[in-house]
C-alpha cells in the first residue's frame, strides 16, 4: 500500500436537520481496494457520493492529493463512478456508452477506438460493440458500466453496490473479476456494499460504518478476528456476544466461570463484551464440558450444522460438523484464542443473542437493497 490519495477530514453531512454522517475521518491510499461496509442508512453511500462530488459535506473537508476539492464538481474530478443500477445510457449502444467520457474530452477518434476495444477485451465483451445496452443481461450491463468508467483512466473508481442486482453465482464471479481488474489497472477502488462476505473477500481495507459513524477500520482479518464492538462483531459473520468480566490479563469470566483467553490490557474486574464465534466452539460429552447446555434447534447447512444451544437461558449459535439431535445435552470447550474481549459500547446488549434466531433473517438482510437519501 503506497501513499495517501484522498482524505476526508471531520466530514459531517446533514439532510434536512438529520445527521447522516457524523464527523468522518478517513483516508484512502493509492491503488488500494477499500470497502465501505454497513447496513442501510449507515452513511456509506453518502460518503461515496461526497468523494464523487455529487454531495458537498455540510462541514469538514475533502482532500485529493493534498488539494481541497470540496467545491470541485464531479466532471472535474479524477474519479469515476459505477452506479448501483448501472445507469447506462439507453439511447447509445455498447461502444458509444464506453466511448462517452472520451468523446466529451475530445480524444481523437482513432485513440477512442483503440481504448474502447481494449476495455471490451478486459471485460470479455468483444464483439458486443453494436449491441443495444438494453438487450444485455445484468452481468453484461454491469461490465459495460465498469468499462465506461475505467476507460477514462480515473485515479479512483467508486463502486456503489455494483453487484447488488446480480444473482449469487454471477456475483461471486464478478467479485473475482473486479479484483483482477483492480490489480491489473493498478487504481484505487472505493467499494460500497452491505454484504460482509463480499467485503471480506475483495478488500485490502474494510471500513465498517453504522449510524453515520465509522465503527472500525482494518484489514478483513482484523475486522473479523478483532472486532472493536458488538456491532462490528455481529455485522461481520456470526457472533455470540455475552457479558463478561475481565478478572485479570488473560482471564475472563462468563456465566460465573473463569476462562483463559489471550486478551489483556483491561482494568481489573472491568465489565466487557465477550465474542465467541460459532466455529470456535468444540462440542464434547456433557461431563467434560466447560459449559453445559441443551440443543434447541438444528439446521443442516451443507458444510456444517447450525445448532442453537441454550446455556443457562442464553442461546448460542454453534457451527459443528457433528450431528447433535434436538433436545440432547452437550458440553463445550473453548480454546483461549476462541475468546475475543471488547470494551463495552452503546451497542452492548443489542446483538449476539440467538434467542430469536431464524434462518429467514439472513435471507432478508441479504436481499435487502440499499436506497439511501
Amino acid at each position: 500500500m503506497s501513499k495517501e490519495l484522498i482524505r476526508l477530514k471531520d466530514v459531517s453531512m446533514q439532510f434536512e436537520g438529520e445527521t447522516v454522517l457524523d464527523n468522518i475521518n478517513l483516508y484512502f491510499n493509492d491503488k488500494e481496494f477499500l470497502t465501505l461496509l454497513g447496513p442501510s442508512g449507515c452513511g456509506k453511500t453518502t460518503t461515496l457520493r461526497i468523494v464523487g462530488g455529487f454531495l458537498v459535506p455540510t462541514s469538514g473537508d475533502v482532500f485529493f492529493d493534498g488539494v481541497r476539492i470540496n467545491d470541485v464538481p464531479p466532471h472535474k474530478r479524477q474519479v469515476n463512478t459505477v452506479f448501483q443500477k448501472y445507469a447506462l445510457f439507453p439511447h447509445l449502444n455498447v461502444y458509444d456508452n464506453i466511448a462517452f467520457g472520451l468523446n466529451i474530452k475530445k480524444v481523437p477518434k482513432d485513440e477512442i477506438k483503440t481504448r474502447v476495444h481494449e476495455m471490451l477485451e478486459i471485460i470479455n465483451l468483444r464483439g458486443f460493440e453494436h449491441r443495444s445496452v438494453t438487450s444485455l443481461s445484468g452481468g453484461q450491463q454491469q461490465r459495460v458500466a465498469i468499462a465506461r468508467a475505467l476507460v477514462n483512466n480515473p485515479k479512483v473508481l467508486l463502486l456503489d453496490e455494483p453487484l447488488g442486482a446480480l444473482d449469487m453465482r454471477l456475483r461471486k464471479d464478478m467479485q473475482q473479476e473486479l479484483k483482477r481488474i483492480q490489480r491489473e489497472m493498478e487504481i484505487t477502488f472505493i467499494y460500497v456494499t452491505h454484504d460482509q462476505e463480499e467485503a471480506l473477500a475483495m478488500s485490502d481495507t474494510v471500513v465498517v460504518m453504522d449510524g453515520g459513524r465509522i465503527q472500525q477500520i482494518g484489514t478483513p482479518e482484523d475486522i473479523y478476528n478483532e472486532p472493536k464492538n458488538a456491532f462490528v462483531a455481529d455485522f461481520i459473520g456470526e457472533s455470540n456476544i455475552v457479558d463478561g468480566i475481565m478478572r485479570e490479563d488473560g482471564v475472563v469470566e462468563i456465566f460465573n466461570r473463569k476462562f483463559r483467553c489471550l486478551d489483556k490490557g483491561f482494568a481489573p474486574n472491568e465489565a466487557v463484551d465477550v465474542v465467541i464465534r460459532p466455529d470456535d466452539v468444540d462440542i464434547v460429552p456433557e461431563k467434560d464440558g466447560q459449559l453445559k447446555g441443551t440443543v434447541t434447534q438444528v439446521t443442516f447447512k451443507g458444510v456444517q450444522y447450525d445448532i442453537i444451544v441454550d446455556f443457562y437461558g442464553f442461546k448460542w449459535l454453534i457451527q459443528t460438523t457433528d450431528f447433535c439431535p434436538e433436545g440432547s445435552k452437550i458440553g463445550i470447550k473453548i480454546d483461549p484464542d476462541g475468546f475475543h474481549v471488547m470494551k463495552k459500547s452503546h451497542y452492548s446488549g443489542m446483538f449476539g443473542d440467538y434467542s430469536s434466531y431464524s434462518e429467514e433473517y439472513d435471507e432478508i438482510s441479504e436481499n435487502e437493497s440499499e436506497e439511501e437519501e
Binding site: 464523487g52 455529487f54 464538481p73 464531479p74 466532471h75 474519479v79 469515476n80 463512478t81 452506479f83 448501483q84 443500477k85 445507469a87 447506462l88 445510457f89 439507453p90 439511447h91 447509445l92 449502444n93 455498447v94 458509444d96 462517452f100 467520457g101 466529451i104 474530452k105 453494436h130 449491441r131 443495444s132 445496452v133 438494453t134 465506461r148 468508467a149 477514462n152
Partner: protein, 286 residues
C-alpha cells in the same frame, strides 16, 4: 386453452372495437368517399385536382396551395414557440420540489378547464386596438400596437391554446428519466450544457415528438382562432374546409380534409422514422 383466452380477450375488446369502427373508421371512410365523388356520387378526381390547381382570378396564384402553406407556416411557428417555451419549462418542473411540481401542473391545466372559445374571446379583449394590452402599453407611454387581425395574433392564440399539449408529454417523459443517468454523464465529464445535449434531449425525444404532434395537428387545422384573432383576414385551411362545408360543398370540403390528413400522416411517419433510427443503438454509427 389459448383459443379460450383469445375468445375472452376478444369479448373484452369488443366494445372498444365497435366504438372505434363507428366513430373512427366509418367517418374516415365517408371523408374519403365524399372526397372522390361528385355531387351525384359518381367517382371523380376533380375535387382533389381542384385543390392543387384552382387559381385566383386576380393574382393568378394557386388559392388552396397558398392557404395550405399559410396554415403550415403559422402552425410550424406556433409549434416551434410552444417547444421553445415548453421544453425548458418541463425541464425546470422536473427539477422542482414535488409540491412545486404539483402547483405548476395545476397552473398549466387550469386554462384547459375553460372552454376553448371563451379562451379565444378572452384573447380578443386583450389584443384589440382598444384592449387590455394596448391600455397597459399606452399607460406606460409606449404607444399602441396593432396586433389583432395580424398573423402574430393568430400565433399568440394558437400558442396559448395548445401550449399544455406540448408541456405535458415532455414533462411526463422527463419525470420518468433516471436521475442517475444525469449523474453518470456529469461523472464522465459533461458540464451542464453537455448533459442537456448528450443525454437529456436525446432521451426526451419521444416526449418532444408527442408534444409536436399534439400541437402541430390541431394548429394546422384550426379555423376558429384565425377567424376571431385574425379578424377573418387570412384564410387558413381549416377556414377553407369550414367555408366549403357551410356552403354545402361537402365533396370539396371532404377532399381538402382528406389531403390534409394524408399530408399530416406522411409527415408524422417521416418524423417518427427519422428520429426512431439510431435510437437504442440500432443503426447508429459504427
Amino acid at each position: 386453452m389459448s383459443g379460450n383466452t383469445r375468445r375472452r380477450t376478444g369479448a373484452l375488446i369488443a366494445p372498444y372495437s365497435i366504438w372505434a369502427l363507428l366513430f373512427i373508421a366509418v367517418p374516415l371512410f365517408f371523408v374519403a368517399y365524399y372526397a372522390f365523388t361528385d355531387n351525384s356520387f359518381g367517382f371523380t378526381f376533380g375535387n382533389i385536382a381542384r385543390f392543387f390547381t384552382e387559381t385566383s382570378r386576380e393574382t393568378g396564384s394557386r388559392i388552396y396551395i397558398d392557404i395550405f402553406m399559410r396554415s403550415l407556416k403559422l402552425a410550424v411557428i406556433s409549434t416551434a414557440i410552444c417547444l421553445l417555451l415548453g421544453y425548458p419549462l418541463a425541464y425546470f418542473m422536473t427539477r422542482a420540489s414535488a409540491k412545486a411540481q404539483k402547483i405548476m401542473m395545476v397552473l398549466i391545466m387550469i386554462p384547459m378547464w375553460m372552454n376553448f372559445l371563451i379562451r379565444t374571446y378572452a384573447w380578443m379583449t386583450i389584443l384589440q386596438d382598444t384592449g387590455i394590452l394596448n391600455g397597459i402599453l399606452s399607460g406606460l407611454g409606449l404607444g399602441k400596437m396593432h396586433i389583432i387581425g395580424t398573423e402574430s395574433a393568430v400565433v399568440v392564440g394558437m400558442v396559448y391554446d395548445y401550449f399544455p399539449y406540448m408541456v405535458l408529454p415532455i414533462y411526463s417523459i422527463m419525470a420518468k428519466m433516471d436521475y442517475k443517468l444525469i449523474e453518470a454523464a456529469r461523472d464522465l465529464g459533461c458540464n451542464g450544457a453537455q448533459v442537456l445535449r448528450r443525454v437529456i434531449i436525446p432521451l426526451s425525444i419521444p416526449g418532444i415528438l408527442n408534444g409536436v404532434t399534439m400541437v402541430l395537428i390541431p394548429s394546422i387545422s384550426t379555423f376558429y382562432i384565425s377567424q376571431k384573432l385574425g379578424n377573418g383576414r387570412f384564410f387558413l385551411i381549416g377556414d377553407a374546409i369550414e367555408g366549403q362545408y357551410v356552403a354545402n360543398n361537402l365533396h370539396f370540403a371532404a377532399a381538402m380534409a382528406f389531403i390534409l390528413m394524408v399530408i399530416l400522416l406522411v409527415a408524422m411517419a417521416l418524423i417518427k422514422y427519422l428520429t426512431g433510427r439510431g435510437k437504442y443503438g440500432e443503426g447508429a454509427k459504427a
